[in-house]
């Protein structure tokens, strides 16, 4: 690889200050450090540093997303064949169909998002941050497959600029950027982001069989009552309509396993959020009231975006609570909020997105009280002496 290294070194002066392409330095630096870990050595403090860096952290999350992504491809094809009665498609054809649908979404998401990141890094004079590598993969996975690419591009631009860069970039944002993109589309173009057509490739363009409903389980429950919902097994495996990556709890659990094994995802948040939702579901079952409260508590864990949100969204270290005690509280409250929004809010069948965004805003408050408790312990000790 020394040939490539020589090549990169040779063109480096062009991008340095005074060079012909100095405005593209962040782009050069990002690309060069992608290819080669820089030869920078420690100058102060600890002489040795861990091999772990931001690139590796983000890579682990992307690997964890792969099962959900691959299953999503297959499921796009599967739902398409079901809606159009194409019963003779082999699995590989379904997968390729989905892959070809999803690829442009991923490309648009990365092009727009990374483009903005490069510009922001150049303006600030920072190195390009890797945060968007994960966000850019998350965004296509939480969109309906039929979302137009221009809408995707706008939502990505909105999320990256207003959700992240205005706060100072990766590490400073308050809201999860991927969910910000989703929420932006949800409130700007509600017709394209929910209902019973958008979840299956081809239906919004017309041509689907009459009377075929491609509604997600949550929308079905809302529209036609709970007896219309798919079986728990189907929801667990994920062969149902829904956002690209969110349907299969199995695939998401594989991702969760990877995140927990490597320690990149917070088990505290995943555990407390699951318990929070389950507990709230059980409580509502016990209290009763309307038919939404009667939905079995464990359904909440396998329906809609709960699994995906718990594993990949709520655990975002930047927007979640940052103290370990705070993480338990944050996770539990998020889980509770998911169920409350689902059950008590007739306008939105899906509560995970809103619950996580709401708790993102609350997280600094939770941390504030946890840190204050530590401060109080210290002050008390000071007085005793």
């Amino acid at each position: 690889m020394s040939f490539l290294l020589d090549k990169m070194k040779k063109i480096e002066p062009l991008f340095k200050k005074g060079g012909r392409f100095e405005k593209l330095y962040s782009f050069y630096e990002g690309f060069a450090s992608f290819l080669f870990v820089p030869d920078k050595v420690t100058t102060k403090g600890s002489h040795i540093r861990d091999h772990m860096d931001m690139k590796r952290t983000m890579t682990v999350v992307i690997i964890a997303l792969m099962p959900a992504l691959l299953f999503g491809c297959y499921n796009i094809g599967l739902q398409h064949t079901r809606a159009f009665g194409l019963n003779d498609w082999p699995v590989i054809q379904m997968f390729l169909f989905g892959f070809i649908k999803l690829l442009p979404m991923i490309i648009v998401s990365y092009l727009v998002g990374l483009g903005i990141e490069f510009i922001a890094a150049q303006i600030r004079g920072h190195e390009i941050s890797e945060g968007y590598l994960v966000t850019g993969m998350l965004i296509p996975l939480i969109m309906p497959v039929d979302v137009p690419l221009w809408m995707l591009a706008i939502s990505v631009a909105f999320a990256v600029i207003l959700g992240k860069e205005v706060f100072g970039g990766t590490g400073m944002n308050i809201l999860n950027p991927a969910l910000t993109a989703r929420a932006f589309l949800f409130f700007s173009y509600p017709g394209r982001m929910s209902g019973d057509k958008v979840w299956i490739e081809g239906l919004t363009k017309g041509g689907g069989p009459d009377g075929f409903s491609g509604a997600t389980p949550l929308a079905l429950a809302r529209l036609d009552g709970f007896d219309q919902m798919p079986s728990p097994m189907e929801m667990f495996v994920g062969t149902i309509p829904g956002s690209v990556g969110e349907t299969s709890v199995v695939a998401i659990l594989i991702g969760a396993f990877i995140l927990l094994l490597t320690g990149v995802g917070s088990w505290r948040i995943m555990l407390s959020m699951t318990l929070g939702a389950l507990g709230m579901g059980l409580l509502l079952n016990a209290v009763g009231g309307n038919e939404y409260t009667q939905i079995p508590a464990y359904y909440h864990l396998i329906m809609g975006g709960f699994a995906f949100g718990t594993v990949f969204m709520a655990t975002d270290p930047v927007t979640a609570a940052q103290t370990n005690t705070g993480k338990y509280i944050y996770g539990a409250l998020t889980g509770i909020m998911v169920v409350i929004i689902r059950v008590f809010n007739p306008a939105y069948p899906e509560g995970t997105m809103l619950a996580i965004l709401l708790m993102n805003v609350m997280a600094p408050l939770i941390d504030h009280y946890v840190v204050n408790a530590s401060i109080r312990r210290r002050l008390k000790r000071g007085r005793r002496v």
């Binding site: 600890s46 540093r49 840190v371």
Partner: protein, 227 residues
Amino acid sequence: MGVQIHHIAPVCRGEVVWTLDVQDVVAIGRLFATGFYDRERIIALAGPGVLNRKYHRTRPGASVAGILKGKLAEGNLRVISGNVLTGKKISTEGSLGFYDNMITVIPEGDYHEFMGWAAPGLKKFSYWRAFVSKLLPKKEYILDTNLHGGHRAFVVTGDYENVLPMDIYPVYLLKAILAGDIELMENLGIYEVAEEDFALCEYIDPSKTEIQEIIRSGINLMIKEMN
């Protein structure tokens, strides 16, 4: 040492804590036994850059040139007075620091690694469980001075606390120092820490923040404020 102080008798504002290491106790004992102040101490010559690792008898401030003579491995090396986490970089003719009990020599990490962040990491020692080496049985690793990444904002949470066994929130304290908020620094425990307490935080940090330097600047700011 900061950890022990924190748990036995935490430092409060205006208090002074004196510390002694074993070899200092020996020196004091020797003073009373013989009447001579003799700080001769045993130091270790360590690290993968040394061919013949062994103990030496010497004094603080002594030149390391004689100790290192003929014992260094080939290549670009860094000589450290002290350990790899908190020691001070010195030249091959430098001298042993006043508080140091060892001289460490490790290879400089001034090399480019192709796609290093994606490699499985069989030979990479790490705190994090994101490397294949975690699954392999214990073996010896060679640590060098490469940063292994670029500087980023704080992103990961919860792990700094794991390597700082005190009732202190390291990232909050660091941010308070960066913001120059004196009262918040006091409240978050600036009196109880020294930069060496944060050495492990700095070592594991995937954002490659110069944590010890930030802590020192915070302590200096406090000293300036109190005078």
